[in-house]
Symmetry: C2
Subunit: 207 residues, 2 copies
DNA sequence: TAGATTGTTAATCGATTAACAATC
DNA sequence: TAGATTGTTAATCGATTAACAATC
């Protein structure tokens, strides 16, 4: 088991995939799995799964495999999603509202606690428990609640400014839905969701 | 310039990122760039960018760099997005509707031409030009129009069945928003968008 | 010309896989 | 026990980077 600082980011990136697959197996009523079965489902070699897990400890039993609930609990702990992270969504357009009201976050470790926009026509509207707030209030909101995670769903031309504001307020992890690369200081993590880049990656292979 | 069949998928995956950055530079009024500048913006080494591009030809000029509009046109051609791909969205919940009405597809090579759901309460509703259609009609719809691309935004438990239907109808590229890994035959491409996996990848690094 | 940047080669670096002893 | 599967090592494979001749 290597020291934590040496674990490659590409390995960290696969852990949520493993976690998701384990949750699915549990829902199907299964209690035990193997690196082979998991690999087949995910299109990953069994050796890679065992190697990835070995960075963090020993979670299986020779001859048997892995108790799914146990491995799931371990992965949640490693990824720090055995708690609930509050997060804010910036941008209350179609996409921002859809994200903010998505029901699948809570069971996987996240809760949307604020939805912000700069459009006066939108501020105050929406579900009673998640009314759109004025973007001007976001710094205080994030600071007071010690929020570390945000999702950006504003037009591309405003994304960098929103990002800067969030970082200044203390946000350390950003999921960016705007189709631009953000510049952030060291220690701030950014992930990107741009459906078009995924589509373009596939059209290359189409006839 | 290597033969096309040898080009690593990881290289293909970076081309849409380059294309997106070039488009942004053009919008900012810039006409020439270099591998160094592009790399700085994207957090990628200049050597990697030059190496990636060299798989497809020579697009730059020594001492000068790249004419952005030319490189952009070349990348569009390589990725086959110098045309407009029709696609269907399956699932007319909050997320599916938000995706279907997203305005950013057309300028990047895609057009949503159909939105489907199995809920009678939803069928027939929505914008006049993109009314929700009955999922029962999707096979004919896809076949008749020779549609090759689909986005899946249905609950996880229905995603695999929808996927099977789409593939049988002729779809060859699927962007899946449901949080499960899909099983598809050889020759069918799948990309995944699951915001939670991205978030979980970042929480690992948070204090 | 002098300075800059490409395209490409070779070296380095890191990730994946094969194989197997350990052991349940 | 016999069969199965883990965790780990070493080998392989592939991707990234450094360096530089070519040349605009």
């Amino acid at each position: 088991m290597a020291s934590i600082s040496e674990i490659p980011d590409i390995v960290i990136g696969r852990l949520p995939i493993y976690l998701r697959a384990l949750t699915q197996l549990i829902q199907q009523g299964q209690e035990i799995t193997s690196s082979h079965e998991l690999g087949q489902r995910l299109g990953i070699s069994s050796a890679q799964i065992r190697k990835d897990l070995s960075h963090f400890g020993e979670f299986g039993k020779q001859g048997t495999g892995y108790q799914i609930s146990h491995l799931q609990a371990q992965l949640k702990q490693i990824l720090q999603v055995n708690r609930e992270w509050p997060l804010v969504v910036v941008g209350a357009g179609d996409l921002g509202r859809a994200i903010a009201h998505y029901g699948g976050f809570v069971e996987r470790g996240f809760r949307v606690v604020g939805l912000f926009d700069n459009d006066p026509a939108k501020i105050g509207t929406g579900a009673p428990d998640l009314k759109v707030k004025d973007i001007a209030e976001i710094t205080d909101f994030v600071r007071e609640r010690n929020i570390k995670i945000a999702m950006i769903a504003v037009p591309a031309e405003h994304a960098q400014a929103v990002c800067d504001t969030l970082v200044k307020a203390g946000v350390r992890a950003i999921l960016n839905y705007a189709p631009i690369t953000l510049t952030v200081p060291e220690g701030v993590h950014v992930q990107y969701i741009d459906p078009v880049t995924h589509l373009q990656r596939m059209t290359y292979y189409l006839d």
